[in-house]
Each structure stands twice: as C-alpha cells, then as structure tokens.
C-alpha cells in the first residue's frame, strides 16, 4: 500500500460534485423502503430480503457503484494519460493495484453499505430482523471487493471497461444466469447472495440463494485473488507509449 497513491486516488474518485450525486443515488433504495413502509404491506421480511436487498441493492446498485469506482480508479489514469507518471515510478505494480483497489472498494462499500443499512432498518422497522441486516451488510461489503477487483482488471484490459462491465452485469448475471443454472458459479451476484446467507437466518421461502455458503465464500475469494493477480500481471507487461 502506498499512502500518496491512496490519497490521490481518493481525491480523484470523491470529487465534491460526484460525492453529492452518489449520495443522491444511495438515497433511492432508502426512499423506496420508506414508500414501501408507508404503503404498509405484509411479509416485510421477504420483501426486505428478496426484493430490496437481493434484487435492488445487490442486483443493481452494488454493481453500478462498483463499476463507477472500480473502472475509474485505474482506468481514468489511462484515459487521461496520467498512468505513465505512476507506472514509471519505482512503485511495485502490486502496490499500485492494491492501493487503487482499496480506495475503490472503500468508496463503493461506503455508499452501498449506508444505503443497505438505512433502507433495511426502515423496511424491517418493528419486525424481527433474523440476521437480514447484518447478513446483507456483510454481503455488500464483500461483494464490493469482488466487483471492484473484477472491474479494475477489466479497466486495465480494455478502454471500454465500463461497457464490458455493464454487459457482464446485465446480460451475463441478469439474463444468462437465469436461463442456465450452471452459470451461477461464474456470477459475482450469486457469490454475494451466498455470502449473505452465512448470517441471514430465514426460511428458504423468504430468501433462497442459489449457491451454498461455503461455495460462495470460496469462489468470491478465488475471483478476487485471480483478478488482482491478472491486473498486476497486465500492468507488468505494460509498455510506455501503449494506450490501455
């Protein structure tokens, strides 16, 4: 880890205007939870777990936030042509990738975790939580790391990482995983839901992820390690003058 790099990346990612927009973005699930409670429906547990957290937050907000931060942390350096100033310094590639990953992870997890906690508390106001709050809070923090590592690798691989990431999230995870059950082993969304299940303690009717707990944790760890390794390897082979 490199302090200067972390500080610079944080300043780059969390500009004033961008932070305000992201907080507004984080308010959407909270607003939806408030509206849901105002309408007063039955089965709030099932709604909070399967609709609010699994579909809305983990299915849409977490990958979108991770896409913004994960691809920008390193990708925007390539786009702006400033990558060469970092890569020509005697800093190990591993340190560069890990520092950038740390900042984008914290930024993503911060926004999504705040939204998850507040929205879930509101959605389950006066209801038993049965680990839904803690489980999904843990899941979004872990999922943010896996997504950020994956998207950071994409951003050193291609200059269109944002679009490739969108295709991955909404076509691969959204459509193909629904059609072909075996693909669940290659879907970060399913890993995240599986991780939530390690703490969430509700009947399968309320929340039923498609991956086992241990499988999810193992696959998430492997994916993170592998994508970080691949990103470092790609940077090692990078030559000055080469566009990303």
């Amino acid at each position: 880890m490199n302090g200067t790099l972390i500080r610079l990346t944080a300043r780059q990612l969390l500009g004033q205007k961008r932070t305000v927009l992201l907080l507004l973005f984080g308010l959407v699930p909270v607003l939806i939870a408030v509206l849901y409670r105002v309408a007063g429906n039955d089965e709030p547990q099932r709604w909070a777990a399967s609709a609010l957290n699994a579909r809305l937050i983990i299915g849409t907000f977490l990958p979108l936030a991770a896409l913004v931060f994960g691809t920008a942390a390193l990708g925007s350096e390539f786009e702006d042509g400033t990558a060469v100033y970092i890569l020509s310094k005697p800093i190990p590639r591993r340190v560069i990738v890990l520092s950038k990953l740390l900042v984008s992870w914290l930024a993503t997890a911060g926004v999504v975790l705040a939204a998850t906690v507040v929205a879930t508390i509101i959605a389950l106001w006066g209801e038993p939580r049965d680990g839904i709050l803690v489980g999904f809070a843990l899941a979004v923090v872990a999922g943010a790391l896996v997504y950020c590592a994956l998207f950071m690798w994409l951003s050193v691989l291609t200059s269109r990482a944002l679009i490739v990431g969108l295709l991955y999230v909404f076509i691969w995870e959204g459509v193909i995983t629904r059609l072909f059950a075996g693909v669940r082993f290659f879907s970060v969304r399913q890993y995240t839901l599986g991780i939530a299940d390690t703490v969430v303690d509700v009947p399968a009717r309320v929340f039923n992820p498609r991956l086992g707990e241990m499988e999810a944790v193992a696959l998430a760890t492997i994916t993170t390690a592998l994508t970080v390794y691949l990103a470092v390897r790609r940077l090692r082979r990078w030559e000055i003058g080469e566009a990303s």
């Binding site: 973005f25 959407v28 607003l31 939806i32 509206l35 849901y36 105002v38 309408a39 429906n41 709604w47 609709a51 579909r55 809305l56 849409t60 979108l64 896409l67 913004v68 691809t71 920008a72 990708g75 925007s76 786009e79 291609t158 200059s159 269109r160 944002l162 679009i163 490739v164 969108l166 295709l167 909404f170 076509i171 459509v175």
Partner: protein, 295 residues
Amino acid sequence: MPPADQRTGSIYDLGYRRYDGLRLGRQHAVLSLYVYTLRGAFGIGRRASSKIIPIIITVIAFLPALIQLGVAAIVSDEVDIIRPENYFGFVQVPVALFCAAIAPEITGRDMRQRTLSLYFSRALERRDYALAKLAAFATALMVLTLAPQALLLVGNGLASKDLADYVGDNWKDMPRTIISGVGIAAAMGAVALAIAAQTSRRAYATIAVVAWFLVTWPISGILVAEVGGAGRAAALLSPFDFVYGATLWVFDVEPDQDSVQDLAEIPLWGYGAAVAAYAAAGTALVIRRFGRIAA
C-alpha cells in the same frame, strides 16, 4: 568563384485560389453527417476495437430471432413462439445497452476532439447538426428493433408450407411492428442522446444514461405494485415500462396479469402519448444543447 546559392531570397507566388468547383450545400452536409454518424454507431470505418461492442449488442438483439428460426428449421412448420410485442419486450434490454454504449460516442466524440467548430463553420447549422445526429442514432436503434423482426417474418415465411399464406396471415402485424419499432427507437434514442450530450466525458455519459434506465425501473415497479394510488403514475417514469406499455397499445393487447402496465391502470394510449412526449422532449433538449454549446 561560383555565385552564392541562387535560391536565397526568391519568393514564389503560390497564390490563394478560389474554389470554383461544385458546392454541395447544406442538404448534402446534413446527409453526409447522418451517414457517417450511422456508420460510426456500428464502428464501420473505425478500428476493430470500436466494432466489437456494437456488434455484440446487435447480436444479442438478434438472438431470439435466430434461435426461433433454428427451432423452426429443425422441428419444421407452425411453431410460432415469439409474438412481435413480446420481441419488443425483450429487445428493450439490448436497445438500452446500445444507448449507454453508443450515445456518448455520437455526441461526445466531436466535443472531446474539438471538431464542433469545424462543423459549425460550414454550411451546416447547429440545429442541422443536432437533427442529423438524432436521426442517425434513431436509425441505428431501429436496426436493433426492426431488423430482427423482419428476419423473423421472412424466415418464418420461408419455413412455413405456404409463403403467400404466411405473409397474408401476418400482414396486419407489419404496420404495428414498424410503428412500435420506430417509437422505441425515437423515445429511447432521443432521451439517451439528450443525457449523453450534457458531458464530453464518455464514462460520465454512459453512467448517466444507464442511471436513467436502471434507477427509474425499480422505483416504478415498487411505486406501482406496492404503493399504488398516485404512485401508479410512476409507470410513466421508467423507460422500460412506458415503452412496453406503448407497444401493448399499438398491438392492442391486454397487459399480463400483475405486470406494471396491468397494475398501473393507466389507459394504454397514455403510454403512446408518453413515448411521443419523451421523444419530443429529448429532441428539443438535444437541439437546445447544441444550440448553446461553445464550439
């Protein structure tokens, strides 16, 4: 002793010449911009890496038609799995992705490379520029909405026993298909372009377009299904929902039980009006943006 270099001090009169050739004028400029923008949307005439993404998204839009034709070829006759309105329900996803990926290219490229001043110093007016870009982008989206259905119609016709019979049976769907396809392309394309034109940074434009599609969608779903009352009007907020409603209206089909359009209880023509309103608003915003932008 040889004289000094003869060339020193000699001035050539190169002259500035008038152009006496044919001037093709404003109309031709608009048409050229349209054609080049349309080609650029699919990466034609650009390097290979700009072709990959539009082609992948276009292939996704064609997949159900290709699968259906494959099934029809193997199982043979009278398998009519996909209705045109259902195809539109599916094709909205690739259309949205295409908007997110390509709209920033269409508007942002000239802003980033500061070529707008070159365009505006020619016969082309600012409004022409905006309209040509809009028309080209809408046409590109129509390739996604209409071409798969055309393929399906022709392919199914050829697979059926009697081509004339098949065309006769499905003839009445044709104008509806075209209206729907054009409507989807116009509404989604105009608004996506209006959003993307606000910034020259590709990444920001993509995220903003995606946010329009994906943030309004769950909001509409929950407001309509769980909250009800005045919240049902939210069905008009989410592009996926109002565009699909308009398709149902065009095909005169009742919405599925418990779908957003069923629960919202908005008369179906309202979605048609929404599509027209969004297309008009998006067009106006794009024209306004390029009318004011510093070139």
